[in-house]
């Protein structure tokens, strides 16, 4: 059977059109069927395409049509391509996406914007699939912008509240900063590669042909073209994937409905920056200096977000910062050359983070939209199933074997360990240390989250007493499926020293470490395996101690925690974490306020006074006045008309004669 790739993004798009335009008329039942059915169908096609790839080894391609086409200058087709990475991404997007669609049926029940919600969700799926399947950077950029748009629309979905709209705008504007760099990167690619096709951009000969070329950049001096492209693309990725310095939008984006947070702001969209790096792996590997920066940014983001997560009381905020932190991990992995590990973590993270978000959504739903963990506690009794699945997700993200997070995180940490200690790169060693610490912190704050929400004594508002029930139906189904995935997801890529085959890594063709292709096989398998065991032991130890410490702090006796928070340094640290290290305030003073003041000034000066006052009103008055004057000249008197005519003739003849005389005089 021939599979046309176009169907994969087209089906959700049809869903968008139908639910968006006819949603009100066809009723919620039909909306459910269409909006969830079409992504599921899309999943089936993705699965078929994936199995073609697995069993026949054919990478599917849809050559599409010429899109932006100036013969010989710019030739950009509208084409889709499905390789190993794209196939896995498609499955994740449509698979997890479909589950979240189903979950939303329960979660969004009775919302006045029901069909609008599903239309946006379908549109998001479409754009995300275009992003993943697009065979050139520009098409990818379309998807990139499209998911940004849908994210904006869904964050501000409950637009009656100003805060939600503000969060939407913040996300959009932050993303624009990154997108601008991304666009510059695209232009640079077009200028130097002469093409935006993925095949050209990842072509070893094309890259090596460019490796000697340099650009002179203001402030940076002479930079190699490849490095500049990679840097710009990475800045684009920091916007979408919420890395320092552009991460602040993601926690605010939690203003949207919780399934949206699960789908867009945890499982799929925010990982598109990582996907970009993986798709362009040869290009990124050709710029080792930038890779070091990426590793640093990733590790620092992971640490900072984990620190902030300690002090958050909003259950979704904790998860949001944990997402930022995990994304930091992925970029750290890319920075140390472990593209395979980064991508593996994208997949497992999609499972357990979607699970955690949906679990929190289930709690929030049950608590009638209460998100503050200080008003929860003891929910284990009322919500046993949610508690169980949430706990699975927590253990997965904390890196408890054999859950999904364990394998992927272990691989990332090992890649850092390998580069830092086996290959002796100092910066990598430092960043490994940061990531290593963060692993423990992750375990700690996640258990804190579980403890505050589900364990201990109930702090639930008395008005909700007896009203808290386990949401059933589709919500339970989605939780169950994702819990299974979170348990088993790690087995996709069991490393060889544990007896696995690194299946995912081989399938996607991504490198598992810088060593794998560069300084390469200089290490004997024995040395490597020993290091792997060591690294695994270390990460287990740190995760375990994080877990234990958290159990101890949030268990029965509160003394340690109390003593810490009441000590001077402790209080200060708590405040710092709670206020998110004052980054928002910093941005507000340095960027937003000066900019606002300036634009206000310009608004008064240029817009009000110069344009509105002088140019618009002034010129309108002038034209109106002239127009009326001309009208009054039309008196209606025939002698007047005749006289105008005669004078016109005389004047023109006079001008003609004087022109002729001038010409003659010369």
């Amino acid at each position: 059977m021939d599979i046309n790739l176009l169907w994969i993004p087209l089906l959700p798009f049809l869903g968008f059109l139908i639910t968006g335009m006819l949603g009100k008329k066809i009723g919620n039942k039909s909306v459910n069927a269409i909006a969830c059915g079409l992504p599921i169908l899309s999943f089936v096609i993705s699965y078929a395409a994936w199995s073609r790839l697995v069993y026949e080894g054919t990478e599917l391609h849809w050559s599409g049509f010429p899109w932006i086409w100036i013969e010989g200058l710019v030739e950009i087709p509208f084409a889709l391509h499905l390789d190993g990475i794209a196939a896995v991404m498609c499955m994740v997007i449509t698979g997890v996406g479909s589950l979240i669609h189903l979950y939303s049926i329960g979660y969004m029940k009775g919302d006045p914007g029901y069909h609008r919600y599903f239309a946006y969700l379908n549109l998001f799926t479409t754009f995300m699939l275009i992003l993943v399947l697009g065979d050139n950077l520009l098409l990818m950029f379309i998807g990139w912008e499209g998911v940004g748009l849908c994210s904006y629309l869904l964050i501000g979905f409950w637009y009656e509240e100003d805060a939600n709209c503000a969060a939407g705008k913040k996300a959009f504007i932050m993303n624009r900063v990154g997108d601008f760099a991304f666009l510059l990167g695209i232009f640079l690619c077009l200028a130097h590669f002469g093409s935006l096709d993925m095949s050209t951009l990842t072509d070893a000969t094309a890259i090596s042909a460019l490796s000697a070329e340099t650009l002179s950049v203001p402030l940076l001096g002479s930079v190699s073209v490849i490095s500049m492209i990679v840097l710009l693309l990475f800045i684009g990725a920091t916007g979408k994937s919420a890395q320092i310095p552009l991460y602040v939008w993601l926690p605010d984006a939690m203003a949207g409905p919780t399934p949206v947070s699960a789908l867009i702001h945890a499982a799929t969209m925010v990982t598109s920056g990582v996907y970009l790096c993986c798709r362009l792996m040869p290009l990124f590997e050709a710029a080792p200096a930038i890779l070091a920066i990426i590793a640093g940014i990733g590790a620092c983001t992971a640490l900072l977000a984990a620190l902030i997560a300690f002090g958050q009381n909003d259950i979704k905020k904790v998860l949001a910062y944990s997402t930022v932190s995990q994304l930091g991990y992925m970029f750290f992995a890319i920075g140390v050359g472990a593209f395979s590990a980064a991508f593996f973590h994208v997949v497992t993270h999609a499972f357990f983070k979607a699970l955690l978000f949906l679990g929190s959504g289930s709690v929030i739903h049950a608590m009638h939209h209460e998100q503050d963990m200080r008003k929860m506690g003891g929910l284990r009794k009322q919500l046993p199933f949610t508690h169980l699945t949430f706990l699975i997700g927590t253990l997965a993200i904390a890196g408890v074997p054999p859950l999904a997070g364990f394998f992927s995180k272990d691989e990332i940490l090992f890649a850092g360990y390998q580069q830092g200690f086996l290959m002796g790169v100092d910066s990598a060693a430092l960043f490994w240390g940061i990531s290593f610490l963060t692993a423990g912190m992750t375990a700690f704050y996640m258990i804190r989250c579980v403890a505050l929400t589900f364990w201990g004594e109930s702090r639930v508002d008395s008005s909700l007493e007896g009203k808290v029930h386990e949401p059933g139906g589709w919500i339970g189904f989605a939780l169950f499926m994702l819990a299974v995935a979170s348990i088993l997801g790690g087995f996709l890529n069991v490393p060889e020293f544990l007896g696995g085959h690194a299946t995912l890594g081989h399938f996607t063709g991504l490198h598992s470490s810088a060593a794998a292709h560069g300084a390469a096989a200089s290490f004997s398998p024995e040395v490597l395996h020993a290091a792997e065991w060591k690294s695994m032991f270390l990460s287990l130890a740190v995760a375990g101690s994080g877990l234990l410490l958290a159990f101890y702090c949030y268990g029965k006796g509160h003394s340690l925690r109390k003593r810490f928070t009441e000590s001077g340094v402790g209080r200060w640290l708590c405040r710092l974490s709670q206020r998110k290290f004052y980054v928002d305030e910093f941005y507000a003073t340095v960027f937003v306020r000066p900019f606002e003041t300036m634009s206000h000034l310009l608004f008064i000066l240029i817009d009000r006074i110069l344009i509105d006052g002088i140019l618009v009103s002034g010129s309108a008055l002038l034209t109106r006045g002239l127009g009326n004057w001309f009208r009054k000249m039309q008196t209606g008197f025939i002698p007047g008309y005749l006289l105008t005519f005669g004078c016109g003739v005389l004047l023109l003849v006079y001008m003609m004669l004087s022109l002729i005389q001038q010409g003659g005089a010369q």
Partner: protein
């Protein structure tokens, strides 16, 4: 001198001849009936007219197959692509005007064969004017078409406004004819007795002051016909007084045929830089005055009149560029612009005719809520107005783009700038009716007689053509270029 008439000569005059015969048939077909049924629509007149116009249009293509490019009738007329395109505009305009005339006139109780016959006769002389190549034939053609139009302007002879407008038109027209004729006499004298344009171009009298002044006077005669400032005074008054259908007819056909002839005349005689400068001055003043005076008009007919004046100004720009030495490439935008203008203007006047059927409505606020009552008409009018304003995706946009880009390429920046400023101003008054139609509530007293099929058909087809020329302009631009190259040989 040969007295026999060659086949090529017959073919050349065939469209005009068909049109004249059509007019005669219309007159005879209505013999003896006109007195009692002036209120009936008289579809048979429209049918005869449509048949005649279609035949004449077909005859244009028959001409196309002949290889006759030489001088016919001892140099009085020619048969080239340029002339045929001019005749094509005129014939299509006549066809649509005939279609619209019946129901409109019947609603005013004055439907008789004279009106449609006058359209046919006028179209005949206009077709001749587009093909005329010597001073005598130009003069005769321009006078006969003017006479036909004077009568049409005063067609509602029981209305004061109509007869006042017609008389103004007549007096000023005759006055301008005097100057036109004087100019021709000057040229005749200065070039040693030549009347044929080729002879004039070949003679050595071009340097003569008498010749220059003569050319200027001829230009003035044409400037009057197309309504260029300061010879424009008649336009608003005549447009307001005359029957809407007649206004649509003369706004397009008189302007088109005069401009085609003027273009041919100037390309032949040259006239040089001095004339180009004067023409540029006329063009600037025309654009500005037309647009500014249209700004505050409440009457749609007067607004269209001033808008027509402004468009004359735009149309003079390529002539200026061509006269200053660029030659054919800029003049090629004139045929295209005329086609675009014809489709657009006919759609607009179709709507004006539709709303003034039964009563004399022509105020902007009479259009309030038209989109609710007559969506098709409102859509047609909107397309027409957007095209007149030069909004993209319409024919008017392409026309203006051609003219202005050519002017800029040849270094006439000031002229282009004035054109752009004029267009900007024009958006205001073109959008006012659009706002009325789509965003205002219909008046309670608003009662529309259903538009006749002829008017609806015209609005729909011309609106469609406006969009088509805007989306697929290439073939028409190509045709225009070839036609101008054909004159220059």
């Amino acid at each position: 001198m040969e007295l026999t008439i060659s086949g090529a000569e017959i073919l050349a005059i065939l469209p005009a001849a068909i049109l004249v015969v059509t007019g005669l048939v219309q007159l005879f077909a209505d013999l003896g009936r006109s007195a009692e049924d002036k209120h009936s629509e008289k579809t048979h007149l429209a049918m005869i007219g449509v048949t005649g116009f279609l035949l004449a249009f077909a005859a244009l293509f028959v001409q196309g197959s002949g290889a006759s490019a030489g001088e016919l009738y001892a140099g009085a007329m020619t048969d080239d692509l340029f002339g045929r395109m001019g005749a094509g505009v005129v014939i299509m305009t006549g066809l649509f005007s005939t279609l619209m005339a019946g129901s409109y006139l019947a609603s005013r109780g004055s439907n008789s064969a004279e009106f449609t016959a006058l359209i046919s006769f006028g179209a005949g002389s206009m077709a001749l004017l587009c093909q005329a190549t010597n001073l005598i034939s130009i003069f005769v053609a321009i006078e006969t078409l003017s006479l036909a139009v004077y009568v049409m302007a005063g067609y509602f002879k029981d209305e004061r406004a109509a007869s006042e407008g017609a008389f103004k038109y007549f007096v000023l027209g005759a006055f301008s004819s005097g100057f036109l004729l004087l100019g021709m006499a000057f040229i005749y004298g200065a070039t040693g007795g030549s009347v044929a344009l080729t002879d004039i171009a070949a003679s050595n009298g071009q340097q003569d002051t008498l010749f220059s002044v003569g050319t200027l006077l001829v230009l003035i005669g044409f400037a009057f016909k197309v309504g260029a400032v300061p010879f424009h005074s008649w336009v608003p008054d005549v447009y307001q007084g005359a029957p809407v259908v007649a206004v649509g007819w003369m706004a397009v056909a008189v302007k088109a045929s005069s401009l085609f002839c003027l273009c041919r005349f100037l390309l032949f005689t040259g006239g040089g830089n001095d004339l180009a400068q004067l023409l540029a001055a006329i063009s600037v003043v025309t654009i500005l005055l037309g647009n500014l005076a249209a700004l505050n008009q409440q009457s749609l007919k007067r607004m269209m009149a001033y808008s027509g004046i402004a468009h004359t100004g735009y149309l003079l720009i390529p002539l200026v560029v061509a006269l200053s030495g660029d030659g054919s490439s800029s003049a090629a935008s004139i045929p295209f612009y005329m086609f675009a203008y014809a489709a657009t203007t006919l759609a607009a006047f179709g709507v004006l005719a539709a709303i003034s059927v039964g009563s004399d409505r022509d105020q902007v606020h009479d259009l309030d809520g038209l989109a609710k009552n007559r969506p098709l008409l409102a859509l047609g009018f909107t397309v027409a107005l957007l095209s007149l304003a030069g909004i993209p995706l319409t024919a008017g946009f392409i026309g203006k783009l051609l003219i202005l880009s050519n002017a800029i390429q040849q270094g006439f920046l000031l002229l282009a700038l004035v054109g752009i400023i004029g267009s900007l101003i024009s958006v205001y008054y073109y959008l006012r009716p659009v706002v009325s139609m789509w965003f205002r509530e219909p008046k309670s007293s608003f009662e529309l007689v259903p538009a006749s099929w002829g008017i609806t058909f015209t609005v729909a087809l011309c609106g469609f053509a406006t969009i088509c020329f805007g989306l697929f302009p290439d073939w028409l631009i190509d045709l225009s270029k070839r036609s101008v190259e054909a004159i220059l040989g």
